[in-house]
Symmetry: C2
Subunit: 268 residues, 2 copies
């Protein structure tokens, strides 16, 4: 099958504008577009993701290697190619794997509509104030591996379609259902109104021991911001559950805490 | 109490040689010395660590703020101070928190001797080929929080006293007992000879389900290198144990897998 290939010869070619100055634009956004990098995430994008690709940008030697995968692209999606040095100039740093793609974010919906569309879902993670891209990526990876049906992120959490979050998520941010927006209070009230049991993971001694708490039918695990933790108003909306710890060390990484709670849930 | 303070006025002052070109020297080593940075790790170093401090290097404005902590230092440990700009020049990048210290590694011992000194230990983690500093740091943090008594790292794993590993470990690499050196085969043979049960965490379907395996009295959890996993020769030395997963996602981060297994062990 023919590929929709276009050789790029100038860094000023307007068709590759979304790929210019990648790092600076990670911070300022791309108007509804986002970038992915590397073979694994491109493959997820083409075969499994819920997002439409706008274009692909490859180091020219990659085309034959990736031909089988690229043939699965709709012909309408252009594939731009350039020599490595030009690609690096355009991106603003070395793109060692020579693979970038630009995709379009999904249109926004309201949380109630999103939640009712998750038919059959029994386990969700809710991030409140999770502003670290590594942590958001790890939350997705752990949810995907350990049987959560989706991720909810409040408006103060970071975008899971940020390039680094996608990479740390091992591409799972591209296919695991998620909702991003609204305040923690509003999201929790909606979940409770729909009959979800809310557990907030917290290190406090007064919280219930994870391993001694009956596992509910529909569970939303709430992760607070690292450092300050969740406010009293948010804690009051759920049951406080703690992971038993040793050595007077009272802190685990948020994504690690989530993994422990999800694995325990999946085990029985 | 008086502090052993010394103002540094030149980047060529030989007394602050261990603090020059921090990043380059992270890669080449410091002849038995290592650096720590930040208040939390300095505090661990002074109050809890198994290592002797050689010196402390502070942005000059930090001295009054840290006085209470610094008074716990033996007077023989010099505290060098400099303005922020000179400190940054010496280190080669901005030391935002203005706190560095230089400590001395412990003398090397043999593994058999180290192991027999861990009286009362019932849970160890063994890293084989864990070359990523973030992962080694996270292994220590998770071991400390979830009740492991020590960490063993083979010779191909990275140094837990590397600056970034200490930081990610939240300082636990400075006080949790560990042994670093030797081949995976030798380490495992010694552990088995001393009656330790060996579990290798592996995603294979043929492995035993973690949650359906009786918990042994003395357990060493083995983590393999990311990517290739453990060799057959190493796998043959223990029991293969898997964490149940969903969605055909067959991979968790090594430190996250360890946290799940440790938490399950600590729970019962």
């Amino acid at each position: 099958m023919a590929l929709n290939l276009h050789a790029v010869t100038s860094r000023d070619d307007p068709r590759i504008a979304p790929y210019t100055a990648v790092r600076e634009r990670d911070l300022t956004g791309r108007d509804g577009l986002f970038l992915v990098e590397g073979k694994v995430t491109l493959e997820v994008c083409i075969t499994r993701a819920r997002f439409d690709l706008d274009s692909v940008f490859l180091e020219e030697g990659r085309v034959p290697v990736l031909a089988e995968l690229l043939e699965k692209l709709p012909y309408s999606v252009p594939i731009y190619t350039a020599p490595q040095s030009l690609m690096d100039q355009i991106a603003g740093f070395p793109i060692h794997r020579g693979i970038l793609a630009c995709a379009r974010k999904a249109p926004e919906t309201d949380f109630g509509g999103w939640l009712s569309a998750q038919t059959g879902a029994t386990t969700l993670a809710l991030c409140i104030g999770t502003s670290n891209h590594d942590n958001v990526g790890a939350v997705f990876r752990n949810c995907a591996a350990l049987g959560a049906d989706g991720v909810v992120l409040d408006e103060t959490s970071c975008d899971p379609l940020y390039r680094k979050a996608i990479r740390v998520s091992a591409g799972t941010a591209l296919w695991l259902p998620y909702y991003h927006g609204g305040s923690g209070e509003t999201l929790l009230d909606t979940l409770k109104g729909e009959g979800w049991t809310i557990w907030t993971l917290t290190p406090g001694e007064t919280a219930t021991n994870l391993y001694k708490t009956p596992r509910p039918d529909r569970l939303c695990l709430v992760l607070g911001p690292e450092g300050p933790g969740l406010s009293d108003a948010l804690l009051a909306r759920g049951e406080r559950v703690r992971i038993p710890m040793a050595n007077a060390v009272d802190s685990l990484n948020v994504a690690t805490s989530l993994a422990i709670a999800l694995s325990h849930r999946l085990s029985g």
